[in-house]
């Protein structure tokens, strides 16, 4: 299968599909470089010049977009670091250490995989209101840290590392933590990269939770901020400005994605078969 050449009809279908995937993005990009006035007169104007950078200049100057960008970066980075730390610690614990109720606790964690967001989001909103966590970074980050998948993923990864490594290190007089930190953790880098990218992506693009938790506009993440701009479209900003916001908001995530693409695809191979 792998080496077989693609039939010309298949190639045509693939190219057509690629066109359908790309056309909306290219169109968005073109619109973002058009002045709002020109688009007001004729939105078909996107396909011809003159193009301008004024929408991007407007983002950098006046709007809240930069604040939203900062919020998104803080929330997504916080979620990623938190998930990597908690999942690595727990993954090592479940994979390597013996303690009472280990199996039971692991099963309880796995059951979390079956809990959809809808089952907890409203009561969580109540809980966070009681604790005064809304409109704060911890309030936006904490829900991302409950993901069972990271723990499951890291546990699997630690289990796949030969135990002889542990025994050799422990004979040399290393403590459990030194063993974890100096010997095993560096070996898990590919898994960390994959888990990190997907956590960052999910936190960056999350909509439902920040929509109800961050209600003052200076605490919006980019996703929620863009939604509010979209809702107020008629009154305020023009089409070109909206599209420039969309492009601007996609840049950081595209950079992360492209930088880690190889790692993601390679590491996914380990999880897909389970």
């Amino acid at each position: 299968m792998k080496g077989a050449r693609l039939h010309p009809l298949v190639v045509m279908a693939l190219l057509l599909g690629a066109g359908v995937m790309l056309a909306p993005m290219v169109w968005t990009l073109l619109l973002s470089f058009k002045s709002n006035a020109a688009l007001m007169a004729d939105s078909g104007a996107a396909f011809s010049g003159p193009y301008t950078l004024e929408n991007y200049a407007a983002i950098l100057k006046g709007s809240l977009t930069l604040q939203w960008l900062a919020n998104s970066l803080i929330v997504a980075t916080g979620a990623t670091v938190g998930v990597l730390v908690l999942s690595s610690l727990a993954g090592y614990g479940f994979a390597r250490l013996e303690f009472p109720f280990r199996r039971t606790l692991f099963v309880i964690v796995l059951l979390g995989l079956a809990v959809p967001e809808q089952a907890v989001i409203l009561p969580r909103h109540q809980l966070f209101a009681m604790l005064g966590l809304h409109n704060s970074y911890p309030g936006l980050i904490l829900p991302s840290l409950t993901g069972s998948f990271g723990v499951f993923f890291m546990t699997q990864y630690f289990r796949a590392i030969p135990k002889e490594l542990d025994e050799a290190a422990l004979l040399d007089g290393a403590s459990r933590f030194t063993l974890f930190w100096k010997v095993l953790l560096p070996l898990t880098f590919p898994a960390q990269a994959t888990l990190g990218v997907f956590t960052f992506l999910a936190a960056w693009n999350d909509y439902w939770w920040p929509l109800i938790s961050a209600t003052t506009s200076d605490r919006f993440t980019l996703t929620v901020g863009l939604a509010s701009a979209q809702m107020n479209y008629a009154q305020t900003s023009g089409l070109g400005f909206l599209m420039a916001q969309a492009v601007f908001a996609s840049i950081p995530i595209l950079v992360v994605y492209i930088a880690f693409q190889k790692q993601i695809v390679r590491a996914m191979a380990g999880t897909a078969v389970r």
Partner: protein
């Protein structure tokens, strides 16, 4: 302190931090949800025990029935085509070379966009008022189609938007599954003179059935919770024709402040997702040998 005791303490020290967050931010709300759903409750802490009344109300609520129908229709319009298209793409793109690599990148690309950006783009593709499709129709001498304000077209329009957005992840999963199939099976099949179609049906598809099952289970659960696309593109309109269950939960809780009722609907959705996931798992794996 004995070594065994120290090991036990080390165990809890390693798994403890996650379990604390997990208990506080997932398990506590999960239990709270069941309790709240049995109360008449608003967003501001008022509570009155009413037993199963919220659930009874849900069973007789025509708006919820419509939202349920819309949601199921969306899932049916999205999950099977998504799985089939993703499978075909993965089969075609599972090969070395620059051409396949570039196309993989193209088909993965939309998955990094947030729902806000996807709906922003597609709103202006779908709008009859000088949208991308309308421009094309106009060039062909046809009248524009009001996709988002026609009750018969709005669900398919949201389904297409979602397909475009969600394609990358299933393709990735299936590609990963295909790479796990040992190459020597294919060599043996080639030696036996098996044709391409036979290889696909007898070797490839059985080998990745677990991956396909995972894709279907994940996508079903995700699409039954479809929210952002409907909320941002149409607000559930026209006339509730695109209101999904989760959008209704959002309206009931944050529009009408009926937290107890909204939570009861969420619990029903939770039960439905669990039941469907288990059913799909059972249907696919019931003939398999139990795994060691």
């Amino acid at each position: 302190m004995t070594a065994a005791l120290r090991d036990r303490l080390a165990g809890y020290a390693f798994v403890g931090p996650f379990l604390l967050v997990y208990a506080a931010v997932l398990i506590v709300p999960l239990v709270m949800g069941i309790v709240i759903s049995l109360h008449r409750a608003d967003l501001f802490g008022r509570r009155e025990w009413i037993g199963l009344d919220n659930y009874a109300q849900a069973l007789g609520d025509p708006v919820l029935h419509q939202a349920f129908g819309n949601t199921v229709l969306l899932a049916v319009l999205i999950v099977p085509p998504l799985t089939v298209i993703a499978l075909l793409l993965a089969l075609a793109l599972n090969r070395p070379g620059k051409f396949a690599a570039v196309l993989r990148g193209v088909f993965f690309s939309s998955l990094v966009l947030s729902v806000t950006i996807v709906t922003l783009i597609w709103r202006f593709i779908l709008t009859p008022d000088a949208g991308l499709i309308a421009e094309g129709l106009e060039a062909a001498g046809r009248a524009p189609i009001p996709f988002l304000s026609d009750p018969d077209l709005v669900i398919p329009a949201i389904a297409v938007t979602t397909l475009w957005w969600s394609l990358g992840f299933p393709v990735m999963l299936i590609l990963a599954g295909l790479q796990q199939v040992p190459g020597d099976i294919y060599e043996a099949a080639a030696l036996d003179g098996a044709g391409r179609w036979t290889v696909l049906r007898r070797i490839t598809l059985p080998a990745i059935r677990r991956t396909l099952l995972l894709v279907v289970m994940l996508q079903t659960a995700a699409q039954l919770q479809l929210f952002g696309q409907a909320q941002l593109l149409t607000g559930g309109g026209p006339g509730g024709a695109s209101r999904t269950i989760v959008l209704y939960i959002f309206e009931v809780s944050f529009g009408r402040w009926e937290l107890g009722y909204a939570t009861a609907i969420a619990e029903l959705l939770f039960g439905m997702i669990i039941a469907l996931t288990l059913l799909q798992y059972w249907l696919v794996t019931r003939h398999e040998e139990p795994r060691a």
